[in-house]
Symmetry: C2
Subunit: 413 residues, 2 copies
């Protein structure tokens, strides 16, 4: 069954790659209209998922991600319309040059082909990812989690129905209805049909994909993000940055999880910073030195330094200098987003160059690592690996290039 | 043991990433000098490999790839010096822009980190790959085949010795001395230390890497390349192009393996083309129609259409039109290089757009798919996959980007 889905996607991708920007945009807008027109049908399916999740005893945060309402559906439609308005990277001639033998060589931007999305409980991913894939000329296969299966299938049906009267083949969008783990693993090995796999979810999902997939995958999303406060940082602006990075939306991958503080200012700064964090309900887990300076700090374990809490928890460590801060980040981080707070340009530049993460900040909250916040438009995930795309991935990152070589009978000497 | 190698490489990569272009160039030139100065030592080791290979009964083509001489060593040195002269992509600011909230966002080009090369019998890959990796700021781990192990170790020793008095750490270059398959498979899973794996070799090697590796890999090299002759092609230039693509160096990945001919011109063109091929000693395996038109053509099997011969063999098929040609190529090719011979611009453009390969030619030999021939400089392989890099990969393709974000206390609203 999964083989059939993949074959259909491949066939659809061939048609899709030939379409004009206008044809793709028209289809994406039709899908947006259809979501709004069929909101009731989607909400009814979502209610089944939500009811089952409550019975199952899902955590409040997960229930919140799962539950749809009219506002969320309207947002999904807005997101699709925004994608329709984005520039179309397909067909762009990246560059051309001529060789001494007269060959004209160029690079042309083309779709990847078939994109596989493996995701967890957020059903809005179904339409967000579809919009970005179609806009970039790729067929998409969506394999969501079992908690949201009714919602995902309903959204998929609405999107596919919307395609019937457009130039985009209906099979350019397919939702895998089976939630069997075996089927997911079979899907991850459909290398002859699927060009890239994008897992969106927690560390366990990412690990499974890395272990089981033979399709090239782009790791996304896990963020054990750090803020390092240098001895010369402006401490007045440091506290609001840390509070924002931790508390504005603690469940997101760009929320800060660890605070590193230069030893010289630790006694002055930590009591203030930790009091502010605690006032917001944040639990502090600290190193020995932190626990000496501030009362009632639970000691962080080695495992804590690796963890992405996605919760009102933060790890705090006193470091002796910039070198130790950089070494700590490079050892424990997930290579997502890190920030240095300092008034020294050279220190900032060293941190930026030597910290091996997708996004490195100077004097700002880590919460900006996001396609829209960066001004790149809707994103399909935030890549934490180095190949192909790093950081927020948008329409452009779902394309590749091909060389074209125009000649007049040239042969190699 | 492989774990130790990987840890040392990671540590070396951190130092290497900080070096200036001049420091890296000086080290690469030192390595070139050292190869020439120690040619005898390398040739002695190579003789052991060559003798063992003869005893083992290796094919002539493989013996030829394995055997070094003073000319080949001089070429290895030349290749290193050319790499030293290439532009350094590291540190390049790809672009910068400012957001309404005042954040300055930019993208900076940085090395990947640690590159793993898994290759077969050509010992010159040891130094060629090392030069490109060091120039791009990456540490390299080289795991060559057992046939060339003495040569590879000797070359590695010479290159490492040359680094002693340079700014590049010696452990930036390491040759895996074990040829145990288990060790190779362990190596392919060192995801925490190695950033990318580049297999260079035959289809079996590539398949093993795809199956066993958890490190992101870039598929290279296998080329089941096609030339399609349209009914309106200039047949006088078609024959030399086909002969060049097949016979100039049949053992290379960009040599043509299949010839597709439009049915309208088959009776006129095939006897001429096949006679010319046979005169060069090429065995022709054809479809039913080809066998009807030309005498003594062995019938090609289904498996033939998938095969990369790397030999004086070619598969020939008559197709009814451009659509069938494109469909055939997209079904059987390894997505390397394909060429259409036609006098019609629109047909050429359709073939270029719709054939899903790294390099698509109009009226030229497929033999030009090569870093130097494209004017990109020395290459580390030719990617036949779509992620990260497609086509000839050079220094630039061994880098990634990171975002830097400069602020003045910005927090997310």
């Amino acid at each position: 069954m999964i083989l059939e889905i993949c074959k259909k996607a491949k066939a659809a991708s061939v048609q899709l790659a030939k379409l004009s920007t206008e044809e793709k945009n028209a289809a994406v807008c039709k899908m947006a209209d259809a979501l709004e027109a069929n909101a009731d049908q989607i909400l009814a399916a979502n209610k089944k998922d939500a009811d089952a999740a409550k019975v199952k005893g899902l955590k409040a945060a997960l229930l919140d991600r799962l539950a749809l309402d009219n506002r969320k559906i309207a947002n999904m439609a807005v997101c699709l319309r925004e994608v329709a308005e984005m520039d179309d990277p397909v067909g762009e001639i990246v560059k051309t040059w001529t060789r001494p033998n007269g060959l004209l060589i160029g690079q042309m931007r083309v779709p990847l082909g078939v994109v596989g999305i493996i995701y967890e409980s957020r059903p809005d991913v179904t339409s967000d990812a579809t919009g970005i894939c179609i806009k970039s000329g790729n067929a998409v296969i969506l394999r969501g989690g079992s908690d949201a299966i009714n919602s995902n299938v309903a959204i998929g049906d609405v999107l596919r129905d919307a395609l019937v009267e457009t130039a985009v083949p209906v099979d350019a969008v397919q939702v895998v209805t089976s939630t069997d783990r075996k089927v997911a693993e079979e899907f991850m090995r459909m290398r002859n049909y699927v060009d890239v796999l994008i897992p969106r979810g927690g560390a366990d999902l990412i690990r499974t994909v890395v272990e089981k997939a033979s399709i090239p995958a782009i790791e996304t999303g896990t963020g054990n993000c750090h803020i390092y406060v240098e001895e010369d940082a402006d401490l007045d602006s440091a506290v609001p940055i840390i509070i924002n990075a931790k508390c504005q939306r603690p469940g997101t991958c760009n929320a800060v999880e660890k605070l590193l503080v230069h030893t010289t200012i630790a006694e002055q700064f930590l009591p203030v910073a930790i009091a502010a964090l605690r006032e917001k309900g944040v639990e502090v887990r600290g190193c020995q030195k932190t626990a000496k300076i501030v009362q009632d700090v639970k000691l962080a374990t080695e495992e804590d330094w690796y963890r992405e809490y996605l919760d009102y928890i933060i790890g705090v460590k006193v470091v002796k200098d910039l070198d130790e801060a950089i070494a700590h980040v490079n050892k424990y981080s997930t290579k997502h987003s890190e920030s240095i707070l300092t008034s020294d340009f050279d220190k900032a530049m060293r941190f930026i160059r030597e910290v091996d993460s997708a996004a490195v900040y100077w004097n700002a909250s880590t919460r900006f690592t996001d396609g829209n916040q960066f001004g790149l438009g809707a994103e399909i995930g935030i890549s934490t690996q180095k190949l192909h795309a790093r950081g927020p991935m948008s329409v452009r990152h779902l394309t590749t290039t091909k060389y074209f070589i125009l000649g007049s009978g040239q042969i190699r000497k």
